[in-house]
Subunit: 314 residues, 2 copies
């Protein structure tokens, strides 16, 4: 009997850990700091120690644990090879092999990119519950994405799948994205991106806006004003939603998923954003995929540990 | 022992059939006309009779046949439901159930969209042989596409996956696509699309071109002139390749396939087209997927029957 599973979501600042039953119940979650010193060499040993301690505390033996799922902020291939994790200081190595050295009593290790894993978590127990395929789009500091088809993460040959934020939606863009390209979705639809878009649109028009009186403003300020019905803010949200809807229409034509799930801080803007996205999505997508629901993520920061556990359960 | 498989590629004019060994060898192929009368009601009975006759001729019993794979020119879901096949006169029904009534001795029936099935065929025995994931883009009368990941077709919730030809690559387009939207890849990269693009570019410039002296010209004329080094023809091919490379970059960001396979008549243009596509693809795709090879399909019109057989073999 192996009735337990560990989910481990490794971020640049903290590692989130969760102990689950094999039925998908989260028994306990906790965090440890991410030690990025020495090229991130202590991160996996710290995780192994924390799991060992937690199991001892709970009087669970390693043999009762079906496996460990790891979510990583960078590309991961289907065989658990991580290619580069700038935020952790990691180069290229096989995560399963390293964890097997550290915790040989729990040999089953699965790994995935954090955004892909979050998509799996939201499909399993969150906003996409009950579906078999979903695409998660995370509107945060950047724009991340995860693709799950038939209950399985699409990782990509080099772990590059799900990079929806780097789809080119504006070929005429002159400013570079963090990735080095120009016109990426992330440049308009991340928390920073919509602020940049707003500054541009404000500079190019005379439409009055409460944003003009602010020294600096955030994505939340824009969305709040749009919800209050301010025309300029509505125009900014609409432009952002147009780029999102366009990129999502590419996904619709290519994958035809059961559901789109919006996550990340900006998804809390609610209907003012999702209604505009839906309108633009329908404008660009092929008829067959026009009615795909667009829902909001519901697991928040726990999506990663849920998805990690689900990778192990298969 | 069930050492045989039938592949059946149903087109609007002819049905192509193939008898394969379970090792993937094509033993014999033949064709029958597609009878689209009476809402296509006779198509499946004709196929069942043709298979029965061929097996009798070869002294193969139905019990020796592992199954039948069907490729269909329209959306097909993973459970073999066909939604609408305008070219065949078909509405919505389950292909497996109907074939089971007609040929109960061969109960295993798999079905897929023709472009998706062709992608599977090319991955199995054609241009993508040896890979596990591939995206096929067929440049013919229209622009079709098929997505295979981990050896399996991505069909989509409503059979709408792989519709690369209807990705919006030019939001500013004023003329409508056959699908009713504007700015679809197909409007620039199908055989008709590149001719339309050429007429527009010729009208907007004074660059000399042999095309100007022709009453009418084809995609092949444009590609031939480009291969001969004519600047105007090269500019037209480059613009078409820019749209293709852009759409393929979306695929790269989303799926990160092992290989892209170009099929259809226009793919015979060779290096003059693929080199230009590669250049534009690299310009738009995220670094991680920049080196994905772009190869040419090799099974030509047989890709469909190969893919149909492979659907059955799994």
């Amino acid at each position: 009997m192996k009735p337990y599973v560990c989910g481990v979501d490794i971020g640049g600042t903290t590692v989130k850990l969760g102990l689950f039953t094999d039925a998908g119940e989260l028994l306990e979650k906790w965090e440890i700091p991410t030690d990025t010193g020495d090229g991130g060499a202590r991160i996996l040993p710290d995780i192994a120690r924390s799991i060992t301690d937690k199991l001892a505390e709970k009087q669970i033996t390693p043999e009762q644990v079906l496996g460990i799922g790891l979510g990583v902020p960078g590309p991961v291939s289907a065989d658990s090879t991580v290619f580069r994790c700038v935020n952790l200081g990691w180069g290229t190595f096989n995560l399963r092999e390293r964890m097997n050295e550290l915790l040989p009593a729990i040999p089953h290790v699965a790994a995935g990119n954090d955004a892909n894993v979050a998509a799996l978590g939201e499909l399993w127990q969150g906003g996409g519950k009950g579906s078999r395929s979903a695409v998660l789009i995370t509107l945060g500091t950047g724009v991340g994405g995860g693709v799950v088809v038939d209950g399985k993460i699409i990782a990509g040959k080099r772990g590059g799948a799900g990079e929806i934020g780097h789809i080119t939606v504006e070929p005429e863009e002159t400013e570079p994205c963090a990735c080095g390209k120009r016109g990426c979705l992330e440049q308009y639809a991340s928390a920073q991106g919509i602020v940049r878009l707003a500054r541009r649109m404000l500079a190019a028009s005379d439409t009055p806006s409460a944003l003009r009186a602010m020294d600096s403003f955030t994505a939340k300020d824009i969305c709040d004003l749009a919800r209050d019905g301010e025309q300029m803010a509505l125009d900014i949200v609409d432009r952002c939603a147009c780029y999102l809807g366009r990129a999502m229409s590419f996904v619709g034509c290519l994958i035809d998923p059961e559901v789109f799930i919006l996550g990340g801080g900006m998804s809390r803007a609610g209907a003012v954003l999702t209604d505009a996205i839906t309108r633009h999505y329908k404008e660009y997508v092929l008829f067959v995929a026009a009615d795909t629901p667009i829902v909001t993520a519901s697991l928040s920061n726990d999506a990663g540990i849920y998805g990690c556990a689900k990778m192990v359960l298969g």
